[in-house]
Every structure is written in C-alpha cells, then in structure tokens.
Symmetry: C2
Subunit: 337 residues, 2 copies
C-alpha cells in the first residue's frame, strides 16, 4: 500500500551533478582527486536526492559487511545471556558494527559458519557454554573468519574471553570455609556446561585440600526452577550442611524458596551464596553474598577483542581471563556449631 521509495543510486547522483559515477564514489569515501568545488556540488546533490549508499553493493566489492554475528550454541534457557546480547549489540554499534544473532546447535556448526561466510560477516562472537571441541576442529569450521568465544574455555588456545571459574569457585568456597563452615553443599550448573564442570570440580577440590568432606550436591541449569529442585533434592538426602553454594543468583533464588519452605532461616541455619551478582542478588531475602561476574565487562572485552582481530588478522590469538570479586551481603555468616 505504501510505495517503497525508489532507490536513488550513485549513477543518479552522477547524472545530476554532471560527473561520472566513479567520482561520486570518491566523494563518498573521502578520497582525494576531486576538487573542492565539485565535491561540494556532489555532496549537495546527495543531500537533495536523499541518497544513501547501498550497503549490500558495497559489501559485495569490499568483502566487508561491518556485521558481527553472535552464535548462541546449544542454549535453551535465555537468562542472563539475554542482557549480554543487548550489551554486545550496543558495543558493536559504538564501533561501527551491526550485530546479527543466530541460534545454532553444535551439530550444525559447520553450516552456521558457512552461512556466516556467505553473508560476509566480518567476525563471529560465540557463546557456547557447553561446546568442547578440539581447537583443530573448530578451526576447520570457521575457515579463518575472526572468532572470539565469550566463554571460559580452559585448554583452548583459540580466542576467548571468560571469567576464571576456578578462581571464582575457590574464592567462594574459601570464604565459606573461612567463616567456619565445614559442611558445604553445592548446586553447580550442569556439569555438561564447561563452567559447571569447573565449578563442581573446584568446589570438591578446595574442600578436600582443606581436609573437608564434600557436602551433598545436585546440579541444574541456570533457572530458578532448577535451583529450587536441586535444593529440594539436597534437603531430601538428609545430609547436614551449614552452607550452600548455588551456581547462579537465579538458582539461589530457587534454593532460598526451598529452604524457606522447610523452615530454615538464612543465614542463621544455612549460609547461602552464589555467583553472578545480578540485580536480583540485592533484593532476595536476605540479599545474597555472591561472586561478582561483571558480564557487561566481559561482553565489552569480547566484542572489542573481536574487532581487534578483524582489523589485524595476523595477531597471535590469546585468551583473556577475567577475575571476579566477592560481594558480601547478608546471606552468609560465621558458623560456630
């Protein structure tokens, strides 16, 4: 019903301004070889005709799209990823790039990369928290398109940006031990997730290092529901614990509910702590002691690193490991039992 505005091209400008269309191209790209007078004249015509260079045509010749693609691999639960998406889009845009989102299953990764190449995206951000693929394989897939994983992937020498999960877990567990807790339960993210694996392993290791027996544990995805169910499972074992380490603030939220339902008071009966430091952690009952993952920072670094790689494809790949801090609130306290 509304007519699509007839697109005005570089040749239209040229005709009106009485130059060849190649000259118009020079003006557009601020290249030398055009007198100030004609440059001005061409500019004016472009304004008058409301000219906007066709980006697709430009892509075709320059082989650059100024687009980054975000691969979300094997992720069902949106959760905090969602905020990151907006972050990344924002930072990308600030740097002159658009962000394209695509969900993928790891079984179709090759296709996804091919498709990205066919679209001439300049680089790929990958959020694939459960993808354990040998570097060589991943390298084969991506065919040299700059790639940065927004994940903690120890063992991989490809480019990634992630929070040190081992350090993070140690921070949490040692804090609880320092408070005098000796029976520490855990609700780690599923060990199918790379993060989950390291959280679980480190939790266990740090306890053993300190001569403590690991408390009961049950894993789950990042959701509140999972946290609730895992907490129920742990409580049902009947094994005693004075502290509970939840995988995320969300999971802690679920766990808190389970604990409350059984009449347990936090932190009097059980100290609870978690990871993420989302806004939620300030508003739970009681507010959560948590490990502060600054996702916004991680997102920013990932995007900027990717852009760096795009501009300079021959730089050696490296890994950026971020260290979280502890944020102490009211869900934890010293244990004197």
């Amino acid at each position: 019903m509304v007519e699509r505005k007839k697109t005005v091209t570089i040749r239209d400008i040229a005709k009106v301004a009485n130059v060849s269309y190649q000259t118009v191209s020079l003006v557009m790209n601020d290249k030398p070889g055009v007198s100030a007078a004609t440059r001005r004249r061409i500019q004016q015509v472009m304004d008058e005709l409301d000219y906007h260079p066709n980006k697709v045509a430009r892509m075709l010749t320059t082989n650059r799209s100024h687009t980054l693609e975000l691969f979300v691999v094997d992720v069902q639960y949106g959760g905090r990823l969602a905020d990151s998406t907006k972050n990344m889009a924002h930072i990308a845009r600030e740097n002159g790039y658009n962000l394209l989102i695509s969900e993928t299953e790891s079984t179709h990764l090759a296709e996804a990369f091919d498709s990205a190449a066919a679209r001439m995206v300049d680089g790929i951000l990958m959020y694939a928290p459960r993808l354990r693929l040998p570097d060589a394989e991943l390298r084969k897939f991506h065919n040299g398109i700059p790639l940065v994983r927004r994940d903690y992937v120890p063992g991989s020498k490809l480019a990634w940006v992630g929070f040190d999960q081992i350090y993070a877990t140690r921070l949490a567990v040692e804090y609880l031990i320092g408070l005098g807790h000796r029976q520490i339960a855990a609700i780690p993210p599923s060990t199918e997730l790379i993060n989950g694996y390291w959280r679980y392993t480190t939790w266990k290791n740090v306890l053993l290092e300190n001569g403590l027996e690991p408390g009961p544990s049950a894993e789950g995805d990042y959701s509140m529901k999972a946290g609730y169910e895992a907490a129920c499972k742990i409580l049902d074992t009947g094994e005693p614990f004075t502290a509970l380490l939840a995988g995320t603030d969300n999971m802690a939220m679920g766990a808190l509910r389970a604990l409350h339902e059984r009449g347990l008071r936090i932190p009097r009966d059980v100290s609870v702590m978690s990871f993420d430091n989302t806004e939620l952690a300030n508003y739970t009952e009681p507010p959560l002691t948590t490990v502060d993952f600054r996702f916004a920072k991680q997102d920013e670094i990932a995007v900027k690193y990717l852009i760096e790689l795009i501009n300079n494809p021959d730089t050696e790949l490296h890994q950026r490991v971020l260290m979280p801090d502890l944020v102490i609130r009211e869900s934890t306290r010293a244990n004197h039992k």
Copy 2:
C-alpha cells in the same frame, strides 16, 4: 594466520561441470530447464567443491536479504526485552530469516530506517515502548519497509502487536477491589512509557468508577531498584493502603523488599500484585499474584505478522491486541479491615 578459504563461485562450479554459470543458478534455485542428468552432475560438483552461494550477491539482485531488523528504541534497561530478543531470533530463524539487532534513539530514527533500507532488510520489528509518533510521521520514515511494532500502541493504525494494558490493569484492580481492598497504591511504569501511561490512567479510572479514592503512587522504570525506591516513597507519604499494584514482577520484587524492611507482612498487612508473570513471580516471598503477559506469544505473533506483511505487502495493516490472564498466587488476599 589462518587462511581465509578461497571462495568458490558459481563460475567455478560451471567450469568443472562444463556448463554455463547461469545453468548452475537454475539448479541452485530449483528451476526447470535443466535435464536430470546435468542437474545431478552440477549438484555433485557443488558438493565436491563445498560450494555455498554468496548471499550478499544474491541480495543485490533479488533485493531481499532474508533478514529482519529489530529496532530497540530509547531503551536503557535490558530486563525482559532481552529474552524477547532471543525468542524473536528463534522464530525468525524457523521461518528462514535472520535477525539483526540495532539500538536506536528516537532522535535518529530516520537514519536507522535509511540504514535498514540500505542493508535491504526485508522487514523491521520495532520495540519502542515510549515512542509516540503520529502514524503519518512514522510512515514517512520507514519508506514502505514492512514494519511491525511489538508494543501496545492504542491510537496507531500501523501494525502492532501488544497486550491490552487497559484490560490488564482493569483485571488487576478489579480483582483487588473484589477482595475487599479499598485503599490501593500503585507503582506503575514511568508514564513516559506508553504502557505506563495506560496503566496509571486505568488504575485511577477503575478506582474512581468504583467510588474509591486512588491510593498513593510513585512511578519508576522496570527495574527492581525502581520498585524498591518507589515503594519507599509511597511508604514515606504515610498514606495508608492495603494493596499495592506494581508495574512488573521485577518492580514488585523491589517493593517486597521495601515492605519487609518496614516490618510489613505480605499478604497479611499488604496484598501485592504485579504484571508479567516471569519466572521470578514463582519464587518471591510470597509468590506473586500477577497478570500473565505471555511475551513469548507476543514475540511470535509479531514476527509472524511481519513475515506475513513481507510476503504480502498490500494487505491492510491491523493491530493485534492480546488479552492477558490473571495468575493468582499467595501475595494477595481478602481484606476485612
């Protein structure tokens, strides 16, 4: 360091298969005019050389990109929008479209549309909860690119998909009145938001209709923090209320904290209800009575409607108004004061 794989083109295929490259094009697009034998042969060559048609080149000739662009206009706080992004990307993909995200300020809307046109995106999804632009103006901007707003925009005859905020608010307020509450406070979203405006107005109107004086109110953005602060403000007025209607589950979460801090018990002293029915509403203390906005459904409808418009640009635009349901949990109860 890693070599970008040399791209193989339609001409490479043609050369190997001993046909003209146009014939290869026919095969790719499943068009008639090619014998079964050569078709097979060409297919085989394409497989062998791992050929993937260049989407950019295709865009240029077909004027279609199979891309939708999501405009996020004047939105700072991520919140629930974020999940929607993932939803939309998912649905788009299921229908053969990619989703491009771009944040925009309403002051630069024209540029954003021009940029989208230059990219040849097939359609635009707009999430602009505070954009009140006359239809004529918006029409001028978008130049005929199919556009669907994922918003409730009463008064606009352009395409939009949104939950009926008036109905929703009426549902909530009348429920509270039905429970016997006569002093009902509110924390609506900022009235700068279209939703916020209607929520606030309707809250007031329904009360007046029922011969009740509107209780105290304070607005805020969608965050928990805003909910907390607004609740504090309301409490500080000293005006009595037995029920509190919060703009979102998130805001309710913040409000709950404020109420708890003052020693108020929910729902004994104050009934609290809100809007959204996010996962959070199940896990607050107590779980929230809330109006169920099925965002996932809204997202899906918006995307599908947009695709419909793309395929059939001459259909009359219309508006899809969704009706929410009430979900009753434990944060509300009858008032007998």
